[in-house]
């Protein structure tokens, strides 16, 4: 999936969070976005996902202006926190995955996703009984249900133990090798074992709340 961001500035109320961000990605690229807390990483993602309403002609997905873009189903998203999900009400992993695909469910596909993420044995568990790391993996599985062409992961390994982090990056690298474009937000690029092709540093300008946006198109930075 191709993405083009052209001179995007964005803020909440009176606070500017993103300033003049410009970059583009081709299908199959793997972008890691790094930066400190409050640098605007999640804000940028929300702009790309159409959650934050941006000015016209600033973001293009597959060459379509974001406000005209309708194929959101092609984008899988794993949020940083699950605050938006009302998870105290009983619902099983299976039920979440089933409703997350609006078209008819292919049971084999569902099982293979669960297997790939390593949560096959959790499929009939109520999500209230899952640990943070397990819940994270459920949401990754949910993001894969519609066979995404772009996978956006916001700090996906927070709260996940080291063994599962390795498995997670292996899976993401495999998906990327299959042609899925990946955008991964990370606190610290050194800890990621991702085979990324691009890296973006988002940094606060000193007191002016401006951002310096550097894009290294030089390939593997690991």
């Amino acid at each position: 999936m191709r993405i083009k961001v052209d001179n995007l500035s964005f803020g909440y109320d009176y606070r500017t969070v993103l300033k003049n961000v410009t970059f583009s990605l081709e299908s199959g690229d793997f972008l890691v976005i790094v930066g400190n807390n409050g640098s605007g990483k999640s804000t940028l993602i929300k702009c790309l996902l159409g959650i934050n309403r941006v000015p016209d002609d600033k973001i293009f997905i597959d060459d379509i202006e974001i406000h005209d873009y309708r194929q959101w189903i092609n984008i899988g998203y794993v949020p940083q926190k699950f605050d938006d999900f009302n998870y105290e009400f009983p619902i099983t992993v299976n039920e979440i995955l089933t409703v997350s695909k609006l078209t008819k469910i292919d049971e084999d596909q569902k099982l293979s996703i669960l297997d790939r993420i390593g949560i096959l044995e959790l499929q009939n568990e109520n999500i209230n009984s899952l640990s943070g790391g397990q819940l994270q993996r459920v949401f990754i599985a949910r993001a894969l249900m519609n066979g995404p062409k772009l996978l956006v992961l916001d700090e996906p390994t927070a709260g996940v133990d080291s063994e599962n982090i390795d498995n997670f990056y292996r899976m993401v690298n495999d998906l990327n090798a299959e042609g899925v474009t990946i955008i991964l937000i990370s606190h610290d690029v050194k800890t990621t074992k991702a085979n990324f092709s691009h890296i973006m540093h988002l940094e606060n300008g000193k007191a002016e709340l401006t951002h310096v946006c550097e894009i290294d198109f030089g390939g593997d930075a690991s």
Binding site: F89, P90, N94, N126
Partner: protein
Amino acid sequence: MIDQITEPLLLSMSFIRALFERTFMQRALITGILVGFLAPLIGSFVVIKRLSMIADTLSHFTLAGLSIGLFLLNIIGLPIGDPLYIGMIFAVSGALLIEALRSYYRNYKEISMPIVISLGTALSALFISLSGGFTSTVYNYLFGSILTVSRQFIYIITITTFIVILLIVSFYKKIVIVSFDESYARLLGINVKVFQFVTTIILGLVIALAIETVGVLLVSSLMIIPVAAAMKIGRSFKNTLIIAILFSEASVILGLWLSYVAGIPSGATIVLFNISILILVVIFKKLFSIQRVRNKQEADVY
């Protein structure tokens, strides 16, 4: 001794006989079963979205519609038919008002509830007073009058039940996603606003109809309490919905029976059965988890 045993039996026989012989009891049972099904079904989605107060707010706003209806009918003499229709219009407009206020106070969404509840209560007090004060009709609005429902009401509630079932079956996946995770629903291309609009209208209608069963003051309990009990023991989403409906139906039937045999108000009895089930669930859940910890400790020892 014998009297103590046979008396309730005889009374319960007469309850069943009354169901066969008395039209008002049949209507009460049909209404009770339909409301007992609809209220927790809609209530589940309300609870998931953490909007439990909405039922209370809308029922108070509906009361404003009912009292304005009474005023138009009895004092002005307008042939508006049943004040219930104006109540239904108020339920729906109250629901839309809440939605509007929720998007206006984006970070303080709960403010919408006290605003609408105050408006509803103030209008009710005003128009109840203007239309002759606290009559038996007003009492029925407040505490329910399931034993006096009309044939027409049965038609309305049957049609509403079918529409609600049809909508939930047709849009099941979308309704579940929007309830659990609005942001993700948007990402899947679901028009959340349209969805909320339709859901809110249905919520308003169901509340207006449920008022006939247990009254304005108790209607929210019919939607929320069976769900509150079921969500503590449900293993999956569907399982929780089914348990909530079963609890609700049990309360309706037991409540109707006890109110008939003991000659006490039906709405209050139904709600008290609902509360009793909730308390039993909480106690059993506690006992069960204590037992489980003990078993585990014993297993660890041996």
